[in-house]
């Protein structure tokens, strides 16, 4: 063979080799089995997302050869388990459902949670098809700690905004045209009508959270609805200004709290102890005419004939506007990894699988709260049109509803006490004034003022 022929052959072989290695077909070679044989322990909260995902875990085990041990707990027990586990030197789980405000901030400060940026960017650890950018940026930012330009400490798994659900049949029976109800006062008038008509039949006008430790998250939506366009600091939300001075006597905050108390008084007996389980179940069992300021993810369960007796009678609306504003909040669960996990690569494989496009498509059908743009595009048409309209409108007017800072849990508990006292009829100025004092003491005790 002449030198020229050899050079041409070598060049063409080289060119072929370069084109083959650059071809996307090679991306299929992502090694899902790189952590084969290891065991990943997962702690989940009882949630529609968890119920759907657990069914598919055998697929993950077959794909990766990793054994998965899942522990799913009711929410009240889950909070304790997650905190205790994270604080231990040997956490009993590797992957867990992460609430950015309840657990994320504390976990970040104590170094209990692993930042995930390194894993996402590492092509050997993350499948090219993962498409992290597909996840809505504003929900990812909620998991960036300590602020929205920090590292990512959790991958979003479900997204919720706070809106209204109502019984289309009951409202129709009372001749109430929901599209004409534009303001909170319009709706309160409608609730009076519904209350008068159905209270004695065992159907309360409103189902809303009471003493749930997470109720302050939803209350933020009610306050935002009155807050208007005024600025506020992320994480402190509306309750503290730049100098950590408490603002609970601000008229918008007071109106938000009073609205919540009013709605509680439209609730069924025992509403004071309602957590989100009771809120959604009461409506699903036909014992409430509306749900206020609660999660869009309920739509999945309310439309499931196995769990709901009111399928086909559910209406959806964004929260109505007030004289001073129109807004709500959104929030989301995520999946996190413990910083002390001995199987981090295996745990990351699980997290990326559980938050992949296929997973989100599957869980999105159950939660009605997918986190990926691609899923929303695919599923938007399958959701009831009124839901899509209400959810779209809600997301347009919503701000992230995450309150976290040192002492936030204590402030949240005092907020719950204040709302309960307002419900019992105590004077709002006295209650909110005392809440202000308590909040100031908590700020003091936690050395928040620099």
């Amino acid at each position: 063979m002449s030198l020229r022929t050899w050079l041409i052959r070598a060049a063409s072989v080289l060119a072929a080799a370069i084109s083959v290695s650059a071809s996307p077909a090679l991306a299929d070679d992502f090694n899902w089995k790189q952590a084969q044989g290891q065991t990943v322990r997962v702690l989940l909260n009882s949630h529609p997302w968890q119920e759907t995902l657990e069914k598919r875990i055998p697929e993950f085990e077959a794909l990766t050869g990793i054994k998965v041990e899942v522990s799913s707990l009711a929410e009240a027990t889950f909070w304790d388990r997650v905190t205790l586990g994270l604080s231990s030197n040997e956490p009993p789980f590797d992957v867990f459902m992460l609430s950015p405000n309840q657990t994320g901030y504390t976990g970040y400060q104590n170094g209990w949670i692993e930042p995930l940026d390194g894993y996402i960017k590492d092509a050997s650890k993350t499948d090219a098809a993962y498409d992290f950018e597909d996840i809505y940026k504003y929900t990812v930012d909620g998991f960036r700690l300590p602020t929205a330009d920090g590292k990512v400490y959790g991958i979003p798994i479900s997204l919720e905004t706070y809106m209204i659900f109502y019984r289309t049949d009951l409202f129709a029976e009372q001749g109430i045209d929901v599209s004409a109800l534009g303001t909170v006062d319009d709706w309160l008038g409608a609730l009076e009508k519904v209350n008068a008509a159905y209270k004695d039949k065992g159907i309360a006008a409103v189902s809303i959270r009471g003493q749930d430790p997470t109720m302050p998250d939803e209350l933020l939506a009610a306050v935002n609805n009155y807050w208007g366009d005024r600025p506020f600091m992320a994480q402190r939300m509306f309750y503290f200004d730049e100098n950590w001075k408490p603002r609970f006597t601000d008229p918008a905050v007071m109106k938000g709290f009073e609205l919540w108390a009013k709605l509680l008084n439209f609730g069924p007996p025992g509403v004071e102890n309602f957590t989100w389980y009771e809120v959604s179940n009461t409506f699903a069992q036909g014992r409430a005419a509306t749900i206020w300021f609660d999660a869009s993810v309920f739509a999945g369960m309310l439309n499931d004939p196995k769990q709901s007796t009111v399928v086909g009678k559910v209406g959806y609306a964004a929260v109505p506007k007030t004289e001073t504003g129109h807004g709500t909040t959104h929030w989301g669960w995520g999946l996190g990894m413990t910083a002390k996990s001995p199987v981090k690569d295996a745990a990351w494989l699980f997290i990326q699988w559980a938050t992949s496009k296929e997973s989100d498509l599957d869980t999105g059908k159950a939660t009605f709260g997918p986190v990926r743009a691609s899923t929303w595009a695919a599923l938007g048409g399958t959701f009831p049109p009124e839901f899509t309209k209400a959810a779209d409108e809600s997301f347009k007017i919503s701000v992230p509803g995450y309150m976290y800072f040192d002492g936030a849990r204590e402030v949240a508990d005092r907020i719950i006490d204040a709302v309960m006292r307002l419900k019992a009829g105590e004077d709002p100025d006295a209650v909110m004034g005392q809440l202000n004092d308590q909040a100031a003491k908590i700020v003091e005790a936690n050395h928040l003022k620099k």
Partner: protein, 306 residues
């Protein structure tokens, strides 16, 4: 004749004596008790002198602050509210359970046939754990769906908000605890009754005393030591109530049912993560329990001499 070449240990020598082996064999038990009881106690006391706030990222280190936690708790109105609720609950539950338990014991003692059957029924609730009792009663006391309100509605009483009304919530919890633990009192008093000699009652009956007089003047003085024992044991456990509150109301409404243990839990691992402060609350509460027990023991000894 040569004396024995080995000497038995003399009475003076401790090593090798029976007493020595006695102490030696208690060492393993003491070590276990020390590890499981003494170490956490001392560590807890030490932690209570520190500021250990996991909610500010301090989980890796503590800051020594001396008695500041104890000074802070004096001004903590939620802690005193919790103590008040605890003593209210304990007093009410003790009275209810002592009266109910003693009545049941007297009845069981006087029933000849089938007493084993009734005894099993009465102490059956003891076999379940407190959290199971709490969740069960939370459902039973549900204002709309609960069985209790259903039964009340059959006799015309309207729906009662057992666990959401701040005036009713502690009586409701007393009810739950009475259902759950009256069996303990019954067993103790029953044991006492069955240990009594029959003669004093026979004599009183022969002398013409009626049942009530026999009870008040003969039986009651004789079982007083058992009553005090039952009361003191029950009081200690009642003061430490937790799961029944956690499982039903979570301390609400607005702290009306928050008992001391629940507040300690909320300040600590269950909520605010102020571990140092929460431990100081726990130490203070333990001191209150000790004082209560000492008072009760003192009162029990002041009774008429046997």
């Amino acid at each position: 004749m040569q004396p024995a070449t080995f000497a038995l240990p003399s009475r003076r020598s401790f090593f090798g004596s029976r007493a020595f082996y006695g102490y030696l064999f208690t060492v393993p038990g003491l070590l276990v008790a020390g590890a499981l009881i003494l170490y956490p106690l001392l560590f807890g006391l030490y932690v209570s002198l520190n500021d250990w706030n996991w909610a500010s990222g301090q989980s890796a280190q503590m800051t020594f602050v001396g008695l500041r936690n104890y000074i802070d708790l004096v001004h903590d109105e939620l802690f005193w509210n919790a103590l008040l609720n605890t003593f209210y609950f304990t007093g009410a539950a003790l009275v209810v359970e002592m009266m109910l338990g003693t009545a049941c014991a007297l009845l069981l003692n006087s029933v000849a046939a089938g007493s084993a059957f009734f005894r099993t029924i009465l102490i059956f609730p003891l076999m379940i754990s407190d959290i199971v009792a709490a969740i069960m009663w939370k459902m039973l006391l549900d204002p709309s769906l609960g069985f209790v309100n259903y039964l009340l509605s059959l006799v015309g009483i309207g729906s009662i908000n057992w666990l959401s009304d701040s005036h009713l919530v502690i009586p409701a919890i007393v009810l739950i605890d009475a259902w759950w633990q009256t069996g303990v009192i019954t067993l103790i008093i029953l044991a006492g009754l069955q240990s009594l000699p029959e003669e004093p009652r026979e004599i009183a009956r022969v002398d013409g005393a009626n049942a009530w007089q026999i009870f008040v003047h003969v039986t009651l003085p004789a079982i007083t030591p058992f009553l005090w024992t039952a009361a003191i044991f029950r009081a200690i456990d009642l003061l430490r109530v937790f799961a029944i509150v956690w499982g039903t109301t979570g301390g609400g409404p607005a702290r009306a049912s928050q008992v001391a243990q629940h507040y300690i839990y909320a300040q600590g691992i269950g909520g605010y993560l102020h571990i140092g402060y929460s431990t100081s609350l726990a130490v203070t509460f333990a001191a209150f329990i000790c004082i209560t027990v000492v008072i009760l023991l003192g009162l029990s000894r002041k009774g008429p001499a046997e």
